[in-house]
Amino acid sequence: MWIPLWPASSAISGNVINALFTAELVVCVLILALVFGLIWVFCIRYRHSTTVDRGHPSQRSWVFEIGWTSATLVAFLVLFVWGANAYVWLYEPPRADLELYVVGKQWMWEIEHPGGQREINALHVPNGKIVRLVMASQDVIHSFFIPAFRMKHDVVPGQLETMWFQPTQTGTYRLECTEFCGTEHAHMTGEVIVMTPAAYAEWLSNQGADKTLAAQGEQLFRNYGCSGCHGVNSTVHAPSLVGLYGSLVHLNDGTTVRADERYIRDSILLPRSQVVAGFAPVMPSFSGQISEADTLKILAYIQSLNPSGNAP
């Protein structure tokens, strides 16, 4: 019988984690061997019935203590720096080749491709491309986990989360929810299918999507009445959304924020928490009136309004 011991790594992030994990494992085993070895040796050599020399136990305990304190401190700091570096690299997304939208809800994952293709509990991605996920939750906290990529991020309701990966091998991998989310938490699983770019393109065209995500978003932008104020021809004094995504926004409390997905989403749902400088806080709140999936579509539309056409 085949007994799994070490999971395959099929993404760049997986290789980074594997290297770091192996290194820490080695350090741990060395320390364990030291402690266990000493305990064994002492327990055998100094068991009560032996008559070995027990005279002059060391009085200068602080010399040893300072020694092993500084040794462990240095070893730990090295591991910390390595781990922190990797963490920053793993969690600060680079410029993406492909952006997908993920909505978690009890108990399934809904994934939207920019072309309007939609899938449930499955994620098709092209091999070798940097994929960035923009994730939202409709209800409780979920966590999007692909063990083969060693990548995971919680999806917290009320804020957008992002995560990225770059697959290195075609194949089918497990997709799991790792934050307990209710009765069928264990069934909130799916598959990540890494395909060659050509196969991915073919798969996309066979999904029969008629409208891109941005086009669907534009429709919603009108339906929810956003265009009444933020539209090009509007007479209401509202900030223009053209070129907004990725730009720096000055707020009326004097601070500056970058208009990322999270900012745009917050501004739709709770517009008064971050008011653009020079504008009155007159926009109504859409909190509780718009689903996460619709928010993401409108977001896709607002992103598509960038003249340059992509994120900074």
């Binding site: 600060e92 997304p93 680079p94 410029r95 804020q159 957008l160 989360e161 992002t162 990725g246 409390d253 004097g254 924020v257 970058r258 990322d260 997905e261 999270r262 994120a311 900074p312």
Partner: protein, 89 residues
Amino acid sequence: MSYIIGWFVLLLLLGLSTLSAFLSLGSVAPLLQFAIAVTQAGLVFVLFMRLRDAQALPRIFAGIGFFWLALLFVMTAIDYATRSGMPQP
């Protein structure tokens, strides 16, 4: 006698704090009001709760709660102050 003076100062500070709310101080107002509250609380602790004549131990335990509370505030503020979801250009 020092109690009466202390009480008078406390009321004075209260008035000052209330007054500050009606001035257009912007984001300074909450800080000022918080500073006044800290001063008032310090007065109450030192004077009315007699930390002035207390031994070291009660003083330490009076401070320890505020110190640990500061840990909660600071460590969480580190998170809220530096959150962002976007690749930096």
